[in-house]
Subunit: 489 residues, 2 copies
């Protein structure tokens, strides 16, 4: 176990140690029942006082992540890890690793009948026919794409088509400023590995996208967060935070924020751009689904306002076009782009050519726009259905935000409730959602949950969500009876 | 510019600083003509004595990588970087990055008529027809693969087929021990990011695969190397090195070593396995083309001898089956595998499903074996042609190793010659090869070059190689006339 703490950070050491150990437990890197090093060992390893370690362990114990057994030691709580079939020899394999956090995959490990946890689109809503036609033509006319490598930066024809597409989104970028990636996750990860390290601070929204937290924390960075309200990231809170530290990077999902669905106002977008330029930090603008707007399009992208090259724009096409091809891209300029292309080279030498050529015609003939229009309309109906079911069946005290776009609705349970406990109950009836704690760098959004209305059939959405409301009702009524219960794991 | 040095390392500090700056220059991260920080600034930044910095700069100057201008400062040598179109504002973008080395892409940036630099296979030698048939059937029967995500660890059906395939290679692995990656490069990179960090030592062969050096050095590791002879990695040299340090990982290409083509003997394989188990370090066994043997199959894979879980086996299928699908995989067990799956999640959430299903039938119906048999026979003829041309046209003093498998021949120029200078001459007539310096962690293999006989047509191989021999002859005769010239850049 290698824990990284940052003495330059304004985050108290005990809190950093707590976070580092919690990361490992919740990522499954520390086995259930595993024994932690002693207070003295941890203090020595981290070069902090034993009092600091004890304080960190107190926090972990309060969350139920560890148990202390008098005279025996401190152990990872038994319910927090997976069953394990490896041998004892393998379990104790004494190789230090550098992966500090990877929680996202814990939510992907098994299948449930009705899965509202993943922000993906039900296959029936995607342009299967157009993609199939494209691939048939491609194999007939250019079968050699199967046996040729593409360019590391991405197929030039596709980059040209993406540049044209994105100009329709008011971003001016040449094909040479585009890097094709293996989904948006790789784009986030390339930025993290190129520009984020153990001494750095990354600012995210709170809550935010789970796998982005994983990517930044895996680099050993300190992740600080700024709350989101209905107009997006709270810039007043951001400036307050900037008095205490200078971030290397600010990660934001300004349009139909994941998971809350809110939209950053034009004013705040301008302020964010100005701040980034002033303190000279990078802004990573993640745009998973700005095309999926239910009332009106969101304000201009941050990248379209960027005059200094501070903004890196990323977009995944898996969710909205073809998960089977899994293509994303980023836009950056100058040395920032060069570093990212070099990082892509080290990471995998480039995306497969086949997939890039499969989606190309949809951009060249513009059918992507029509496909997105249909997706938008269907998801608007899904959003409305979701709101209707919640209004009708959600128990008292449960609230939600009305998303103006995107794939998700962010639901809040009453004070004292815990979405992780609710999830355990929901899984018993074959339903899953994403607990809010997964979306929070500090794992404190215990009473919130994200429900995606895109991945299931419409019938499953209606039926599953109704059932989930009943599970909520039962869970909350039991909670009232067990008064005084800690709202933790 | 952020330079990382390792005070625990046995490598002298001056040499580490030299290496760190050389990496950045040769990777193109330091612009031509860029001014380096002053001796005093570097000494302060790195917390070393100015004498140490001066020694490092002496080494860089001797190699022609920097020039010192009296009263003005130290500058990156003008011929070592690309033309650049970014603005001054962007050039000086003051964001520290963490990518210490990525040289491989420097050799991929432009196209030449005859490219012997890339160990890829000419499209005509790959099973285009079988792949095209597979994709047509797939799209007819399961069009939904275009609009579905696969498992993060890789499509289960493919992993099962790969487990069966690899059992034919005498490696026993279940589908659950296989992780599908975006080519073998991603497999190397996932291992590097999971287990290698700035305080670690990685041992490679010398010479070795360029992009592997990039991946390890990008993690800030100290890369030490062990020479290779006709029986593979010199285990006596390895044990000598182990007296001085304990590596975290040993990276090896035991079968038809890249770039020299040598084969590690059974005895040395056993010794390596025993050593890794004793000092408890990981062994990364890269197997790009063990199926392409010209005389006899290589000895059993290291992974097949591994009883402790120390060995991670990786295999790319791009080179030998379908570059357009770019699929690779790795085999590992227990917590090592778990870390790698988590790293894959953070890296990109999994390979595209489409490509995995395209190659699946070739493994299921066994036609991959037949395809590899044909490739082996063609490449044996190519190897023989290469040797014939070299014997007939290579100038006196030029030598080469006879490869027993794989895609490359390793050629050595006489003492005093420099393969980088030769490459500049060859590029004038539209021919490229890989200079040996790219394959060496210490960039000292100046007089060697790797010629791949797989990427061109047979006619281009014969004609291009003949021309290259004439270029060599002219270059070497000029060199004799310019006696006393430094054999450096």
């Amino acid at each position: 176990m290698k824990l990284v703490i940052n003495r330059q950070s304004k985050v108290p050491l005990a809190q950093q140690i707590h976070q580092a150990i919690a990361d490992r437990i919740l990522s499954g890197h520390l086995e259930r029942g595993a024994r932690l090093p002693s207070v003295r060992q941890l203090a020595k390893m981290l070069q902090v006082s034993p009092v600091t370690v004890v304080h960190a362990l107190d926090l972990l114990e309060a969350e139920g992540l560890i148990t202390r057994v008098h005279g025996k030691g401190t152990f990872v709580y038994e319910e927090h890890a997976k069953t394990d079939q490896t041998t004892e020899r393998q379990k104790t394999f004494p190789v230090v690793d550098y992966l500090y956090r990877s929680q996202y995959w814990q939510y992907q490990k098994s299948e449930v009948p009705i899965d509202f946890a993943q922000s993906v689109v039900h296959p029936s809503l995607l342009p299967t026919q157009a993609l199939a036609d494209s691939i048939r033509r491609l194999i007939r006319e250019e079968p050699d794409v199967l046996v040729q490598y593409g360019e590391i930066q991405g197929d030039l024809a596709l980059r040209q088509a993406l540049a044209r597409y994105i100009s329709g989104e008011r971003i001016t970028a040449s094909a040479h400023e585009i890097l094709v990636t293996n989904g948006s996750q790789q784009a986030i990860d390339l930025v993290a590995r190129s520009f984020v390290g153990p001494q750095d601070v990354v600012v995210t929204e709170e809550p935010t996208y789970t796998a982005a937290i994983d990517a930044f924390r895996s680099r050993g960075a300190t992740v600080l967060s700024v709350p989101v309200d209905e107009h997006g990231m709270r810039i007043d809170e951001l400036t307050g935070l900037l008095d205490r530290c200078t971030p290397k990077l600010i990660y934001t999902i300004p349009s139909f924020h994941n998971p809350t669905g809110s939209v950053m106002s034009v004013k705040r977008r301008r302020e964010l751009i100005d701040i980034a330029s002033e303190v000279n930090c990078l802004v990573l603008e993640d745009d998973p689904w700005s095309e999926i707007h239910f009332d009106e399009p969101p304000p201009p992208h941050l990248k379209s306002m960027d005059e200094t090259g501070n903004v890196i724009y990323i977009k995944g096409l898996g969710k909205i076009l073809s998960p089977g091809c899994r293509i994303g891209f980023l836009i950056a300029t100058g040395p920032v782009l060069e570093r990212l292309v070099a990082a892509k080279t080290n990471a995998d030498l480039g995306n497969p050519l086949l997939n890039q050529r499969v989606i190309l015609p949809l951009f060249e003939n513009g059918s992507i726009r029509e496909s997105l229009r249909r997706l938008r309309e269907t998801l608007r109906e899904r959003r409305n259905l979701t709101l209707r079911v919640l209004e009708r069946h959600a128990p008292d005290g449960v609230t939600w935000k009305i998303p103006k776009g995107g794939f998700n609705v962010w639901v809040s349970l009453p004070e004292g409730a815990n979405a992780n406990e609710l999830m355990a109950e929901a899984e018993k009836v074959g339903i899953r959602f994403l607990p809010g704690s997964a979306c929070d760098p500090n794992q404190i959004q215990w009473r919130h949950l994200r429900i995606s209305f895109s991945p299931t059939t419409e019938a499953d959405l209606e039926q599953g969500l109704t059932t989930l409301c009943h599970v909520m009702e039962r869970y909350l009524s039991l909670l009232v009876n067990k008064k005084g219960k800690s709202p933790l794991f």
